[in-house]
């Protein structure tokens, strides 16, 4: 059976205005999410790595310039009315800013009752109320403290959890969460991430968790995709990748996280990156100009090397390993 959502070699290039260069936001990436095997997939990268572009492509908010996104085997661009509606119900989104998404003039109930009405989830008012209360409890909120209030009366953490509850209402198969905790206090992050993880474990909903924060990704993810400047650099089982990163960029990313340790080894020289004289090659490895291991081999885009059963790395340092065709990444990841 076709996976719920499948990205096949999907890429996005933004064309510049008159005479401007076009910008590659995402190079051909493949990914598959199987509704039968719920899991949390973390997509990690710095700003400009293409992670939000990936989210927008998967949600059908942007059209890919290469490849396609499929919903149950059908290209998103060719979905009929009914399939599109089913897609809209199966795949929900939670965005970064829990302050900007509310209309301050409406009570919080409004964002929760809208999907109930839109998707005809309840036959009566009482039933609707029941569904909303159930969704709020699933994210660890007490309905009596939330319903009837205005957005400004809730904290940032409560607002973001209400957005997760909203995404939960249509009983989706996948929630795409783009930086859901980056605007929330550190002490509340754990609670929100915990309720996301719970959705996968208790309710069988897959989560695509998009973030720049490797540490939170590690806490909730099963698999990880590490993106750098529009390219996938490393992917696979998160516990392996975070504890023993193989791509030089992933290694840099892991080492840059400040630890709450008594040993202070975090601050290094400011220009820790070698300026190795290698040009940022438009066709080569995207990390070559910052990489201590760069050689002439990096002038060609590296394929994905299968260094372990559950890991691929796009770096020629691992060229003795067998390769994996980029298009097969999706089925390989969800296998």
């Amino acid at each position: 059976m076709a996976p719920l959502i499948e990205a096949v070699d999907v890429g996005k290039r933004f064309t510049g205005g008159l005479g401007r260069e076009s910008i590659l936001a995402l190079d051909g990436l493949s990914l598959a999410i199987d509704a039968e095997k719920p899991s949390v997939i973390a997509v990690v990268g710095e700003s400009g790595s293409g992670k939000t572009t990936l989210a927008r492509l998967l949600l059908g908010l942007a059209e890919p310039t290469t490849g396609e996104v499929r919903y149950r085997g059908e290209d998103l661009r060719r979905l009929g009315r009914n399939s599109w509606r089913a897609f809209r119900r199966d795949v929900q989104a939670v965005f970064q800013d829990p302050y900007g998404v509310y209309n301050p003039f409406y009570r919080v109930d409004h964002v929760l009752s809208t999907p109930v009405r839109q998707f005809g989830l309840a036959a009566s008012r009482a039933e609707a109320r029941g569904l909303i209360e159930e969704a709020l409890r699933a994210v660890g909120l007490r309905p009596e403290e939330i319903l009837g209030r205005y957005p400004h009366q809730l904290s940032g953490g409560q607002r973001q959890r209400v957005m997760v509850a909203r995404a939960l209402l249509p009983k989706p198969k996948l929630i795409i969460a783009d930086e859901p905790v980056s605007m929330v206090d550190a002490s509340l992050r754990a609670t929100i991430l915990g309720s996301l993880r719970n959705l996968t474990d208790q309710h069988g909903i897959s989560i695509l968790y998009i973030t720049h924060d490797l540490a939170t990704a590690y806490q909730v993810g099963d698999q990880i995709l590490v993106l750098y400047r529009a390219h996938l650099v490393e992917a696979g089982a998160i516990d392996r990748i975070v504890t023993t990163p193989q791509h030089p960029y992933t290694q840099l990313l892991v080492s840059a996280i400040p630890h709450a340790h008594a040993t202070r080894d975090w601050i290094k020289q400011e220009n820790e990156e070698p300026r190795n004289g290698v040009d940022m090659m438009s066709h080569g490895c995207p990390f070559a100009d910052r990489c201590a291991h760069a050689t002439s081999l990096c002038a060609v885009a590296p394929p994905l090397y299968r260094t372990e059963l559950r890991r691929v790395v796009a770096c020629v340092l691992y060229r003795e390993y067998p390769t994996l065709a980029a298009r097969e990444l999706g089925s390989w990841l969800s296998a």
Binding site: S155, D185, A186, S187, A190, H212, A215, I257, A260
Partner: protein
């Protein structure tokens, strides 16, 4: 021990509101020795940024400093007139405000914005001398001198944050207050900017107050850490002590809520919400969220006291 460069004494800051007074900073005292790095950590709304602004005497109505004093190099800031305090800002204490990298003027070149800081403090240099000074400041924060001719939109986030540090150190301050200077940056860039701040601070011999809520960043950067809760300091200790043996339950919860790369799946949030500053619970402000709370915690407010060389405000410590 050397004379403190900055001393804050029983500072109280309140905001007047039709529904009642909001006590944003409540009886906060600490001293900063020259060259020291002090961290101030706590949740949003705990009064960290208000404390920074009130040290600079930059609190605007309806906020006001109710009581207490701030001493810089032995001089009381409250005694200064408006002109006097303007001279102290930047030259004595420099503030890198939260989100300052996004407050650079988009239509002025970076060099002009740094020069403005000099001119504003009465430094009338010739054009050549001014350009030279700006270039030297940019080099100091690790930026190429040609950044002076660029506009903010031509710089990356890390470069903009460095430009803000260049402005902050333009007049060789003795205290730099950095309010979440890297919260909008990626981890790799964050480390580079913090390394720049550390080096510049050492070259200047300036003390730094780092405000933030990332305990990992605090552990790696500051010498001493103060934990704020509901406008009060609840624990102040050398960083190694506080990380190894946090004494206040709130400090413990803050450290535990940091997602680490060691223990996977060990996410522990802090239950409940920070209290409203308009209506603080009686006794210890943290007691409704504290698993160890006793009857005494519900009635009697703990004061900051010395426990084995560490200042902590908890009945149970």
């Amino acid at each position: 021990m050397s004379e403190p460069v900055l001393r804050v004494e029983r500072l109280r800051v309140a905001f007047d509101h039709p529904l009642g007074k909001v006590q944003a900073v409540d009886d906060v005292s600490f001293a900063l020795t020259p060259g020291e790095r002090l961290g101030l950590a706590g949740e949003s709304g705990s009064g960290k940024s208000t404390l920074a602004l009130s040290i600079m005497r930059m609190i605007k109505p309806p906020g006001r400093i109710e009581a207490g004093a701030v001493w810089l190099n032995g001089g009381r800031l409250a005694d200064l007139d408006e002109e006097g305090i303007r001279a102290v800002r930047l030259a004595g204490i420099a503030l890198v405000p939260q989100g300052s990298m996004n407050s650079l003027n988009p239509i002025l070149r970076i060099g002009q914005q740094i020069a403005d800081a000099l001119i504003d403090h009465g430094l009338r240099l010739g054009r050549r001398a001014e350009e030279w000074r700006v270039a030297a400041l940019l080099t100091e924060v690790g930026l190429p001198a040609n950044v002076a001719r660029m506009y903010p939109h031509e710089l990356s986030g890390g470069m903009k944050q460095r430009a803000c540090i260049a402005i902050a150190i333009a007049l060789r301050p003795k205290v730099i207050i950095a309010d979440e200077p890297t919260s909008a940056l990626d981890v790799v860039v964050q480390r580079q900017v913090m390394a720049t701040l550390a080096r510049v601070q050492q070259e200047l011999g300036a003390a730094v107050i780092l405000i933030g809520h990332d305990m990992g960043l605090m552990a790696q950067f500051v010498d001493r850490l103060g934990i704020m809760y509901a406008g009060r300091l609840v624990e102040v200790a050398p960083i190694a002590d506080i990380i190894a043996h946090p004494r206040h339950p709130y400090t413990r919860a803050l450290i535990a809520s940091l997602p680490s790369l060691e223990a996977r799946g060990a996410l522990a949030g802090i239950p409940g919400l920070a209290p409203s500053l308009r209506d603080l619970p009686p006794g210890c402000a943290f007691h409704p969220r504290c698993e160890f709370a006793t009857d005494r915690c519900r009635e009697e407010r703990p004061v900051l006291r010395d426990v084995a060389g560490v200042d902590v405000a908890c009945h149970l410590a």
